[in-house]
Amino acid sequence: MAVALTRAPSASAGDDTPRTIVSRGSRGDVIFRSILRAAGLSSFAITGLILIFLIYRGWWALRTDGFSFFTKQNWVFVGNEFGIGGILPDTVIIAAIAALVGIPIAVGTAIFISEYAPGRLKRILIAVIDLMAAIPSIIYGVWGRFFLMPRLVGTMSWLSNHLNWFPPFKTTVAYSASTFVGSPAIAGLVVSLMVIPIVTSLSREVFSQAPQGEREGAYALGSTRWGMIRTVVLPFGRGGVIGAAMLGIGRALGETIAVLLIISQAYNLNWHVLQSGGSSVASLIAGSWASADTNQLSALMAAGLTLFALTLVVNSLASIVINRSRSGTATND
């Protein structure tokens, strides 16, 4: 690598300014670095392409329906009446259920792996969490549909009978065998299994970076192990855990196949989470894709654009939170 130094300033000048070192790479290196730079920037290109082409293809539906595309609660196949006013909130509800169930379990698991598990068990559990992330969502979906759902119906009906002072647990339809099948709650529970590995592995990495000196300081002051975790590890990892939780929510918002397999598709808002019916943007797209004509395709593209914008905002915020937190890669203390 050719290194050219600027001329050293004359000693008489008096001020001590460091020399700037300019390294000019060979032609091969310049080409090499620009290729790498292009590859790095390709992620921007892909994100940009998604944005441009979904707007381009969804423009027809957005223009025809105007703002009512986001407020109307129906998805009628004849007459081109499209609105995600019911589907979008349902997507958020399913993601929220998944987050409420999954994130506490995930953070607990992360604490256990990084703080409690002895060496051998730790390695096994890390592998288990990686495997949990590697299992395809369709496997979770099939399991949720055929195994979990029949076993959950009894619990769901008990919740709606005895806890119906809590408005979301009410049911508005007549009681029948299928009242509690395919509800947002069941879909959310299955999606929570897909949130757990993401949040666990990210939080575990953050927890394990908590400085050893502070840990030992806490022990030296007479802390129990939980006391040490509460005062050292958790505050240290707070930013990372928040970021991880947001990435998990982003994953839950976009989950397609498991929701499609479990939920009974309905296009109006169903915030009675125990009751059958509901939808999510992703499962709407996958479910009505095969039968869509040009107009519906445009509406589905517009729905996909909404989902993409939503997850991009959530995920980017999460990513920024992780980078900015004390435990992020950019800081070292």
Partner: protein, 383 residues
């Protein structure tokens, strides 16, 4: 003479007058701990059974275990409260609470594998499941005709194309983050982290809107592979970046000091050093890609017939076979059994890829296998 502090819940110190010095293990669970946990578990099982099954109008297997767990926690709190001080109780209670997370995650994974095997076996036992397609099998025909060969071929072709597309680009992006950097490093890292949680269906929509509708590519296995590669890309980049970051800086500097240019250093020193970790990154990304359903559903359609040509015509994959067998032909129990069989096949592929990743990736950068070390010795002996 040291006496155990009854309140502290810690082990009594051993008699130190003996000849040999043994390290004191302070974190081992004492018999009291085991008895407290076991007693609470058994006791709560009894209470829950009586209340849940006999007294109160509950039903459903799931609710039973949730109730059992809650009663267990309360009972353990009570048992611990009788023995130890408040501080110790809180410490031990949190240990139990937190470790149940690990047990839960392991139970879920075992459950998924066990369920797939159990439900998949009836279909997968038949040899024709692996050697035939569904072209001549009607929805109601028995499990001894028809199979998933066409879907397996589609899956393999698409994952091969997607890997060829995603791995070089993803690794170069990772090299950009670790080797080049500069003002764009942080935004790129942010967007790649955000892309790891990108809904996979959006990748399918992109390929459909861009390649199929605008560029006129037919709906085919290749279009699906493009979508899968978009999903795999951030996974490859993130996993590779982690590996490349731990390559020792001294190796890089040694190469520079010997006059190596930047790209030769990367090609001859950094990449070979990180080889095992990079292989893991690739294999894990393949495991992620082969299970993708939604983007394939959008871009490759579905067919019951064999299609070797990934560039023309619809192509089935294992995940789309499963989803079709349940949502389209779900009325036929035979077809659902086939879908569950395909689920087991998919699970086996994922498990195989995962095991490969574990075996290959267990080594730190620069750590050599026995054969590599022997070859190195041979080469250095020759000179």
């Amino acid at each position: 003479m040291i006496t155990a502090d009854r309140d502290s819940g810690l082990q009594p110190l051993p008699d130190l007058s003996g000849s040999q010095d043994k390290p004191l293990r302070i974190r081992r669970l004492t018999p009291e701990d085991w008895l407290s946990i076991g007693g609470a578990a058994v006791g709560s099982l009894g209470i829950t059974w009586v209340l849940y099954e006999q007294v109160l109008p509950f039903s459903g297997g799931f609710g039973f275990w949730v109730c059992w767990y809650l009663v267990f926690l309360l009972l353990y709190l009570a048992v611990a409260g009788l023995q130890w001080s408040k501080l110790v109780v809180r410490d031990k209670f949190m240990a139990v609470l937190v470790s149940s997370g690990g047990i839960f995650a392991s139970a879920v994974v075992i459950e998924q594998i066990g369920y797939s095997v159990l439900k998949g076996l009836p279909a997968i036992r038949h040899l024709n499941f692996w050697t035939q397609t569904m072209a001549f099998a009607a929805p109601l025909s028995p499990l001894s005709t028809g199979g998933v060969l066409h879907a397996a071929v589609g899956s393999l072709e698409q994952i091969a194309i997607a890997t060829v597309l995603a791995v070089p680009l993803g690794m170069m992006a990772a090299l950009f983050l670790t080797e080049v950097g500069g003002p764009m490093e942080r935004p790129v890292r942010t967007i790649i982290n955000a892309m790891t949680a990108l809904p996979s269906i959006v990748a399918g929509l992109l390929v459909y809107a861009l390649a199929v509708l605008t560029l006129g590519l037919p709906e085919s296995g290749f279009a699906a592979a493009l979508a899968i590669s978009v999903v795999m890309l951030p996974t490859v980049t993130r996993a590779s970046e982690v590996v490349l970051q731990v390559v020792p800086g001294t190796l890089r500097e040694a190469s520079f000091a010997l006059g190596g240019s930047h790209w030769r250093t990367v090609w001859k020193v950094i990449l070979p050093t990180a080889r095992s970790g990079l292989t893991t990154a690739v294999v894990l990304a393949m495991a992620r890609g082969i299970g993708e359903t939604a983007p394939v559903l959008l871009t490759a359609g579905y067919t019951n017939e064999m299609n070797f040509n990934a560039f023309h015509g619809w192509q089935a994959t294992l995940p789309t076979f499963i989803i079709n067998s349940i949502l389209v032909y779900g009325q036929s129990p035979k077809y659902v059994a086939r879908g569950l069989g395909a689920g087991l096949a998919l699970m086996l592929v994922v498990l195989a890829l995962f095991s490969i990743a574990r075996v290959v990736g267990g080594k730190a950068p620069g750590e050599l296998t026995r054969r590599q070390r022997r070859r190195l010795q041979r080469e250095s002996a020759r000179t």
